[in-house]
Symmetry: C2
Subunit: 375 residues, 2 copies
Amino acid sequence: MTASRRAALKGIDAVTVRAIQDSAGRIHERVRRRAKPEMQFPVRALSNVRYDNKEGFFEIGRSKKVRSLSVNTVKTFAQTLRMMVLSKELVETNDFATKRDAYYQSKNWDEARFDEQTESDAVMDDIEAMCSVRGVSREQLRFIPDEHGGAVAGELIVHDADLETGKEEHIDCTRFGSGAYSIPSLTEHLRFETKAKFILCIETGGMFQRLQSHKYWKKVDCILISMAGVPTRATRRFVRRLADQCKIPVFAFVDCDPYGISNIYRTLKVGSGNAAHINQFFCVPQASFLGVTPQDIIDYKLPTHPLKDVDIKRAKDAIKNDPFFQIHKEWAKAMEALLKMGVRAEQQALAKWGLNYVIEKYLPAKLKHPENFLP
Amino acid sequence: MTASRRAALKGIDAVTVRAIQDSAGRIHERVRRRAKPEMQFPVRALSNVRYDNKEGFFEIGRSKKVRSLSVNTVKTFAQTLRMMVLSKELVETNDFATKRDAYYQSKNWDEARFDEQTESDAVMDDIEAMCSVRGVSREQLRFIPDEHGGAVAGELIVHDADLETGKEEHIDCTRFGSGAYSIPSLTEHLRFETKAKFILCIETGGMFQRLQSHKYWKKVDCILISMAGVPTRATRRFVRRLADQCKIPVFAFVDCDPYGISNIYRTLKVGSGNAAHINQFFCVPQASFLGVTPQDIIDYKLPTHPLKDVDIKRAKDAIKNDPFFQIHKEWAKAMEALLKMGVRAEQQALAKWGLNYVIEKYLPAKLKHPENFLP
């Protein structure tokens, strides 16, 4: 690890520890003054969300809830403090814990132990929300998700430092054969080296495997990412940091249905409504929508399925209530077109014209006009 | 790619093509003789399964169903033949298709097109079962699953050949920092180079990340595999081929509950009951069960949860109906002990004693006595 890298890492960790110490310090100060200690958390609910197109993500509003120490809150209060101590220890020992690890760790906290993991998850969410207003993410607090990361292939070298020795590995994502690089749970410490022109985020594992096995990334100089449905936190953060650091655009290639558009793509780009306090870390504002678009269904004569009731409900909800679709009129129009057509199409529907039609015709035609991608 | 490698690959593909040609040839022969053409498939049902401890997997029995050409079967008959043609083309062009790809390909088969993917899936299952009696797997037919593969880290070099150029990549799984190697959908063409003493298959992504980030594989000379729940076909096949080729044992490290034992572990080791025609390819008979065992719950004073109704039902079913538990008395006893204790424990419950207790105490103690692992 280079000295500047070590300094930078220290910098992130220093901010995290300071955020914890400040919160704890305020409580300590009130106790010292014999005032009732309290903690403040931003309210995590759709009602406390705003979407600013310039910022590029769903942002949490200013509503706060206050937890004062009382007979009723004493246990949660103590648990929150213990959880903050755990986070500080994790940063200091350069380690990490899953939600589940944290729950089991508490079994040694005597009376402050959690009885159910739902309780410890809620406390962790509170701390995450509290620290998010200082720009500190859950991953910086060293709490990691217990989900598989996406797969990566293409023109990218990832720099990763050994947890214990600090020695740096350079991981060349062109060298995985038909396999791929699997994104770790914690991506804050990664650095990137690439000459790729764009990042292509792909919904299905099958399509990713096709593009990867045929080394499509070599033909067009890009990085392929398999999202496997709604991308996990680790995948979103990885794409965001990669796109930020290397200043390259992100194109999404998903199914043409309300789920692919409003859940997968919208979550990738601006985040989700009920986790607004974390969107600043996980959104990918530089993303745009390559396809499959409603217009593609017509242009490419794709085989379709009728929209299900749940699709129709999701599309109508998005048009009516989702700030993302209200701000981007093109998207509201596209959704309305889809509703009118009454059908949906999967990205693999392109296989009707040949298994590698997607490589030989569809993607080249699309990539000639990125200015036409939906926002 | 070496000449011997090219020859071997050709060998596998030659067997596949011959299996398809023979089946088609028998039909053609009957047509030529003006007899009614028919196809034979093994019956895929629990009633047609047997478990031989020596063979090491659930094997399909001898019951067959016959599909004769008639007005009622003509469409399925034609579809089955077209699907066999597709498979042959995939082998010949060194390509592959997901179930979904195959469904969409059929949209160009005029009257033989499938209306629903469930129909094309069923035909693919039939062909798979038909070819399985000749030792040819679905992956050899070049139909790949559309699921994410498991993650791999540790003392292993994977040899993979480029689909188009045949150039071989050597993928060193010790060099991925906190990330990992993501297993491709198709693993038949991979070769392995390792001095590892064993393969450790891990249920949760969180535990895998802990062992990987702390480079546990270096301490004990092993290969870590993240199964992320019930292992996918690609993961099972990868472990099986790796263990066969390198002659090393496989240890499973999963939650101590009826799901972890009878679904995850039992599926890994002997396969599943309702897909008996494929178990010969996907089972890992050399697997044994490191933990978490019911006895571990007592020995390590692990925090537990009460068994849910579904757990109790699953455990009772296993003891009563599952040939695996009937043959392995130790397993029936362990399941009964769990039922009597009325609790289950997750592998991350070890975190009660410290996040890295699993690395420092639990695994070293266990690995001293692999002879005590459950079969």
